[in-house]
């Protein structure tokens, strides 16, 4: 699977650099979007997985679910940092400031705080069933903020950020760009999935050695 992902990654990078035309108003900076959008998507996806696996742990008590929840959160933390940094650079290039508490920036920042809090909590607890339970409860409890982040924050703050690309109203994307974006999304999601499986295995092995 690793090799396949490697080829897909090279292909996507090639497409981004040689096929994608400069976007109106953004020029070649638009290339950054092909990193930013997929990592942001994965950051959110990992959050969903972490909460879902947390719920599964609470229901079944299987430590596999806990390892998956932890693995998703650990990777999610890396991806959310990537998304925040790439977003800030993009913001500097297009609006002239790294940070302006745009709703999307606020959302991603809160996500970053949640991931950080979850991992701190895990770090502060001795390994075992109790930690698994506490972490799962926090993953689900912090998940309550999602509707707020998605629906309320955009009303509280004025936004410059383009609307979610996929509903088509924001960035004017032509077919080529959309296709490349899809490739990038598939690629980054694939990378996440690959890392996620490896990390889950590692955490389980660590758990057994305890």
């Amino acid at each position: 699977m690793g090799a396949l992902l490697g080829i897909l990654t090279l292909l996507t990078i090639g497409l981004v650099f040689f096929v994608v035309p400069p976007a109106e108003g953004l020029g070649y900076y638009v290339r950054l979007a092909f990193l930013h959008i997929p990592v942001a998507w994965v950051a959110v996806l990992a959050f969903l997985i972490s909460a879902y696996e947390g719920a599964r742990f609470l229901r079944s008590g299987e430590l596999v679910a806990d390892a998956k929840s932890a693995a998703a959160a650990q990777l999610g933390f890396i991806f959310v940092i990537l998304a925040t940094v790439s977003g800030a650079v993009f913001s500097k290039l297009t609006w002239g400031a790294y940070w302006n508490w745009d709703p999307r920036q606020t959302t991603i920042f809160v996500l970053l705080l949640i991931y950080g809090a979850y991992l701190t909590l895990r770090g502060a607890m001795p390994a075992g069933r109790r930690r698994a339970k506490v972490a799962a409860v926090y993953a689900l409890f912090s998940f309550l903020t999602v509707p707020f982040l998605v629906f309320i924050i955009p009303r509280l703050y004025f936004s410059l950020h383009p609307s979610p690309v996929l509903n088509g109203s924001g960035l004017a994307m032509d077919t080529i760009m959309l296709a490349v974006l899809m490739a990038a999304l598939a690629d980054v999601t694939g990378i996440f999935y690959w890392l996620f499986r490896r990390q889950t295995k590692r955490l389980l092995a660590e758990g057994e050695n305890l």
Binding site: L58, I114, L121, P126, L140
Partner: protein, 223 residues
């Protein structure tokens, strides 16, 4: 069943209250923390006028961190005293959770009554809509109590105590915190007063309470 649940909640509340009266450190830390922070801000400003937005943010930061200094010990104290096991054997999850939540909320409301008038006095702020401010403060206190009680239960077994509680609290409480700041700024005269945010806060408080109630069972029972 419901009558006995309410009896149990009253018992837990009464127990917390009695212990609070006999051992004042927990809540007096909270009150003194709030007072100290407020004094700091007021001294630093030297009577300089404060924008409503800034004043509102300051007020909520004082309230939030004072609450953090007082509300985080709910379960950890029982754990160190060894009474947590006794409580687990004799008390049911929901009575303990709601009793403790009610007590935390009561403490926070007392704190609010103590600190907000002082805050308005020292910073010379004028309140345009007292009712809205009272509602905002109450809903904010309920939210902090709801999230705080569950998170205090989470951090019981943690090896790092100080700080962890605030780290876990902040993301969860932001949906209460941000509208509360907007509304408070409004009542202090920032120009807009989006009263319908109160509804959003109440809704989110309800969600927090319900989720805390469901999730606490998992923490309280091992089977």
């Amino acid at each position: 069943m419901h009558a006995s649940l309410w009896q149990g909640i009253k018992l837990v509340f009464g127990k917390e209250f009695t212990l609070g009266l006999r051992f004042k450190a927990a809540w007096s830390t909270m009150f003194m923390f709030a007072l100290t922070t407020l004094a700091c801000v007021s001294l630093a400003l030297q009577g300089a006028p404060l924008e409503p937005e800034l004043a509102a943010a300051l007020l909520w930061i004082i309230l939030f961190f004072a609450a953090m200094a007082g509300a985080d010990r709910g379960f950890a104290d029982e754990d160190t005293a060894g009474t947590l096991l006794t409580l687990q054997i004799y008390g049911s999850a929901q009575t303990v959770l709601w009793g403790k939540m009610l007590y935390t909320c009561f403490l926070l409301v007392c704190l609010t009554f103590f600190i907000v008038p002082l805050f308005l006095l020292l910073l010379g702020a004028e309140v345009a809509a007292g009712g809205v401010l009272a509602g905002t403060l109450l809903l904010g206190d309920v939210g902090i109590a709801a999230a705080g009680t569950l998170i205090a239960a989470l951090t019981t077994g943690a090896q790092v105590k100080s700080g962890l509680f605030s780290v876990l609290m902040l993301p969860v409480i932001l949906p209460v915190f941000l509208p509360a700041i907007f509304l408070t700024a409004g009542t202090l005269g920032s120009g807009q007063l989006p009263v319908h945010y109160l509804l959003g806060m109440a809704l989110y408080d309800g969600v927090l309470l319900a989720a805390a109630s469901v999730l606490f069972d998992y923490l309280w029972y091992e089977d």
